[in-house]
């Protein structure tokens, strides 16, 4: 009886203490970065107005020294984990969509 009690208690503990988690999170400005979209912008010619009209408000408008930048950021995180109290394993996969446009002072 004692021989079976210990493995049974161990197994019960494993069952009761086992946990799992799954989550996802999305943050930032999601823009469809198709080449057909960005192809409409031309280096040295497109203005801030063009970028904003095409892509909408950015995540960040950054004032630099004599220039400014429009930064589009989108973050998508997916996580899943196994929780066994004594051994826990989490895997979090985060992907970023990023695009930055530097605008010289002469562009409006």
């Amino acid at each position: 009886m004692k021989r079976t009690a210990v493995p049974a208690a161990l197994m019960l503990s494993v069952i009761l203490l086992a946990g799992c988690a799954q989550f996802e999170s999305k943050r930032g400005v999601e823009v469809n970065w198709q080449s057909t979209v960005t192809a409409q912008l031309v280096n040295g010619q497109s203005t801030r107005r063009d970028v904003l009209a095409l892509l909408g408000p950015p995540s960040q408008v950054i004032a630099l020294d004599g220039e400014s930048a429009l930064y589009y950021l989108f973050e998508h995180s997916e996580g899943e984990g196994l929780i066994l109290v004594l051994y826990n394993r989490m895997r979090i996969d985060t992907r970023y969509d990023r695009a930055i446009f530097f605008l010289i002072k002469t562009t409006s």
Binding site: C20, F23, E24, R27, R49, A53, Q60, A63, S77
Partner: protein, 198 residues
């Protein structure tokens, strides 16, 4: 009589085990109803008269930017915990978040004339998840704190009293009103604010 008492006891016990069912609704700002985006070269005074005071404002290299926004965040979560029995032994959680809103960004030159305008609306799934967690809460399945944070203007007074990385980055902070602006919920691990190591 016994069956009725048992049912009542069961219902009371179930209520006791379900302390974490909640629905949160956040409305941040006011909807930009009947929005008519002003044409280029509209004077700042006229824009303010039309749209009212902006929620975000910052200087830029060519003038300044103003932004108006409205966010509606819906957070639903449900779960049960055996913590009520005296030990945080096991909890099961489910959470989901939906975000919709709109953002209007206007840029002005130093002569206070409108140079560009852009407006966006969105209705997105913001995240969610489920978890069964023994003993400790390892994972928060849904978190809206970064979306519902207070406006940066509320932090201007203490911007120089942050931990050292934040204070050193203050001159470039997008919350200072001097270096640009950013939308709510912008990821902290990339971009300008990553220098502050938030």
């Amino acid at each position: 009589m016994k069956a009725r008492t048992a049912r009542i006891l069961c219902a009371a016990f179930a209520c006791w085990l379900l302390p974490a069912c909640s629905q949160w609704r956040y409305d941040l700002g006011v909807p930009l109803d009947n929005l008519e985006i002003p044409p280029q070269n509209t004077a700042l005074a006229e824009v303010l008269q039309r749209l009212g005071p902006p929620l975000r404002i910052s200087a830029t290299d060519t003038g300044f930017v103003l932004a108006w926004e409205h966010w509606h965040v819906r957070e639903d979560s449900a779960g049960f915990s055996l913590g009520a029995l005296g030990a945080d032994f096991l909890s099961a959680d489910w959470g989901d978040m939906r975000i919709n809103g709109e953002f209007l960004l206007l840029t002005f030159d130093r002569q206070h004339l409108l140079t560009s305008a852009t407006h966006s609306t969105w209705d997105n799934h913001g995240g969610g998840g489920q978890a069964i967690q023994p003993l400790f809460g390892f994972v928060s399945v849904v978190d809206v704190d970064d979306i519902t944070d207070v406006m940066p203007q509320h932090r201007w007074g203490k911007s120089l009293l942050q931990p050292l990385p934040g204070t050193l980055n203050n001159a470039s902070s997008l919350d200072s009103g001097q270096s640009g602006l950013q939308q709510r919920g912008t990821p902290t691990a990339a971009g300008q604010q990553s220098l502050g190591m938030d």
